[in-house]
Symmetry: D2
Subunit: 307 residues, 4 copies
């Protein structure tokens, strides 16, 4: 079994390593030559100097060549799929393992199908721990394509039986991953709020590292996110060096849009996203407005920026 991996960052690089260690041949390409070289030297990857070079090293047209993209969603992925459509032939397969919007995947799948090129959207979870633990793979594809790619999925997954599944047609893999991330946002926020309240109860002077470690054993909230949280709190539970700023990515936003499109209430997933928006808001214009309104009707004190 052989595939090309385009994009060897935190995710693509580790996945390549895991594949190689499972005996699957990987032709790898990344803009960074350094990254390519390292994987060649340490893990025996076959280097490619360009996407075209990677394709050519997969063999001749007619061999059901497989190209796995592990790129930022949006433009980078779009461009490479359009490039690859030129280079690949009937029967070849493109897999998008990144965090693309499922509607893009549906569109791309249909567009590639017109050219006879197969497509799979493989929502990939597991983060930097996937190398060791295996990745959770949510796959959207036709049954035929899913069957062809199966050995690769098994190599990446935690085990032969678990952690990979063909969940439905093209787009459903990224859709499932999107919802997965929405849930992740909600779980993270639930934990952050709870810990914030533990910390806010200053007269108990609670040790959050102790409590999160405690909860890992036998409690209802035990979870992988809790494991990581307990770990993060061990050194400095004040997190004094960390800025109160949380980035968000496409999938959290798309989940909320999906809830609007479906007309289905998802208050917790939505508020978890909006908490991140708040953290990113340096101006606080809505707060200023509220302060002015209070002054307007009640003559209440308006705190000045100079206070």
């Amino acid at each position: 079994m052989k595939l090309a991996m385009i994009g060897l960052g935190k995710m693509g690089g580790n996945m390549t390593t895991r594949l190689l260690r499972s005996g699957i041949e990987v032709v790898g390409y990344d803009r960074s030559v350094e990254v390519v070289t390292k994987l060649v030297d340490t893990e025996g990857m076959t280097a490619a100097s360009s996407v075209a070079d990677a394709v050519s090293k997969l063999g001749e047209s007619g061999e059901k060549r497989i190209v796995w993209l592990m790129l930022p969603s949006g433009e980078p992925t779009e461009i490479q799929i359009q490039n690859l459509a030129e280079m690949l032939a009937k029967g070849d397969i493109i897999i998008d393992g990144g965090n693309s919007n499922y509607k893009d995947s549906q569109r791309r799948g249909a567009w590639l199908a017109e050219r006879g090129i197969g497509f799979m959207d493989a929502g990939t979870s597991g983060g930097i721990w996937g190398l060791e633990n295996g990745y959770c793979l949510m796959v959207g594809a036709t049954p035929e394509i899913a069957k062809v790619v199966e050995p690769i999925l098994i190599a990446l997954a935690p085990s032969k039986e678990n952690g990979w599944a063909h969940v439905g047609p093209i787009g459903s893999g990224h859709f499932t991953k999107m919802i997965h991330n929405g849930i992740e946002y909600g779980m993270m926020q639930a934990m952050a709020e709870g810990l914030d309240l533990l910390k806010g109860k200053t007269d108990f002077n609670l040790d959050l590292a102790q409590i999160t470690e405690l909860w890992r054993h036998g409690s209802v909230v035990r979870s992988w996110l809790l494991d990581l949280t307990a770990d993060a709190l061990k050194e400095d539970q004040e997190l004094s060096a960390v800025a109160p700023y949380v980035a968000d990515s496409g999938e959290g936003r798309w989940t909320v849009m999906e809830s609007v499109e479906q007309g289905v209430a998802a208050p917790v997933l939505t508020l978890a996203l909006q908490a991140r928006f708040r953290s990113q808001d340096a101006t606080g214009y809505s707060y200023k407005l509220l302060s002015m309104m209070r002054n307007g009707f009640g003559g209440h004190f308006v705190k000045s920026v100079n206070d």
Copy 2:
């Protein structure tokens, strides 16, 4: 008609003025001699040098003396009610026009009733504009007490027919005022969020002073809060001198607690309160936690306080 007004701040002072201008005699007391003097000089209030003095100037025991408290809720109101219970006699009436918790009012009403002293909780809305427009009065009391106090309520209200009402038993006036304020929080927050989104659409370069003024005429959202908002935006719609900090008071919090006690969902009233909490949170500990968790599973960049 005659009453004592204890507390001559923004609310009590203006209410005293409105009462005097309606021909009701007011014996006024405030910790600030200056405030007392001013109302004596400009509006013809009768000065009292202490609460006891105010009571004595209301006449003899047996004359159904009325004392209106316009004090901060909690301890200041509690203390004065306990003081007054010593000074007053059977048939006298204490009115709490402040923002007390309705459960406190129920307790105080029952306690005063044991001493034969009447009690009324008069939730009072209208802010600094009440002097001119009249106050909206939500009254909890026995029918007898409500009847006695009626002329005072009418003098304070916008008109004889409107803006005052005996809504139910003791406690129900403050309860109704509490819910009123909860709604106020929600309406303010709705407006602030909408304006924030108008401002965020930078490519339209909208004039928020123009739009809020526009909405005042014929739109579905026209309201007194909008009137005030339009007014506030006329000078500096950037609100550059205003700190992004919104205070909250007891009634917003009690409304949320009431929803929890009743087991009734009130997401908008709750989130409006929590938006204020966010504005008051200087640390952002929950955001720091989220940032660390993201780093934990995905190796994502953690913004440092030094960035």
Copy 3:
């Protein structure tokens, strides 16, 4: 001044009446002949038997003919704009007074501009009361177009000075209306939650018709929505004949999507929308899931559909 009005429903019909009463000539078309006939008979409208007929009755090409669309957003508006583009000539103007998505308006404006046809998006608020009170009009257009249409806007607005405004470029009128409706959702929800809590306090046995009427006078929450609510509660405050089902329209949803796109928290506007989603959800699948989870970890009782 003369214009064609396409769509004579609750909004378009009343607007036509108001225009005619202001001395503006209206050529009106609606799918319902009955509706057309009535406006001809009672208000002196000029009948049109089709959109083409309406255009022809506006005069010759070159006369800056004005067509106002008052149609459901989406397909009905899209189709008519495409039709009209065929019938109209350079210098003519299409006004979309419906609740179109502002992005559609931007697209349509650009597309019509290529054909030399002017476009205005006129977000229109005021509902069924606009006939009497005047409509609040939020207008997006070039300054030239806005100038031409001004007399029509003035005739529709509450007064010459107030209730209409040119807020920005094409799209900004519908954008402003969209946010207006978002705020409206939030204010309605705030009020509904507060009244729900008043009702839930059964031991006070509060009269919600009395209280909403009371609040209309002097309180901070006085507003047009409160006026309508007080009115609605006068007959049967139990609302026993009303189903607990609230429809939602595009603008509430688009506001939430806008907040996601901008990355700006709008919890109250969002939760107000989601409350409506909840009211529309006949299945309650998420509740079923929660009930099963509780059973899973705690052995808690699962209420059956037969209970």
Copy 4:
């Protein structure tokens, strides 16, 4: 080591079993004789015919007798603690392992301390799986009391090293458990919302049993709650027999009250609680109000209960 267990329900019964199997002697009492008899017969528990009998079987005064209460919070726990205060002597210890409000525990701890009786609040998580997996125990007590009870905690916990901890003074155990449950509510709700959206995407026809099972392996959301959810979905993922009704208990409510008291935003924990309130609301009065308001300003159709 020896203790009395008062209350042998789902929690107390299993805990007794686990203690007995670890070689700790348990004198057990429950209102149900049947339950007592079963634990005597199958696990070798010592039967008590009353609380007083249980105390007497623990030995003489002066032997640091330990009584563990596993009762519903509120009155049942309150009554037994007051009873026990009469029966116990200086140096004896009461442990409340139920879900009491931490403020009650603080009050009870102080009251018992005046009588020389020790108190420990032991928040206990693990549900019906605790027998097998061990219980997660969050303990509030003085260091002396914690030391005495340690062997019992170790026997109940998943292991000697993990799953039990003395987190702080009296009250802090129940406080920590309360927050734990708040987080649990948030996590459950996040999962339920996500699955609801998966189900709502009908064109993908997703198999929720497959997906939840998939996520258990390698994904970021893997957790014990997910394990249970995957299990529950295996049989009938439509959950057609389950009523859309979710009960809530004190701790979820107290967590929200705590956030109000601290002035700390906890939107996700709050909305998770309110989702349950919604599920319990058979009337939908707030929805009716909204429907009436829409009718009031826009003439929109009001769905009747007969529709």
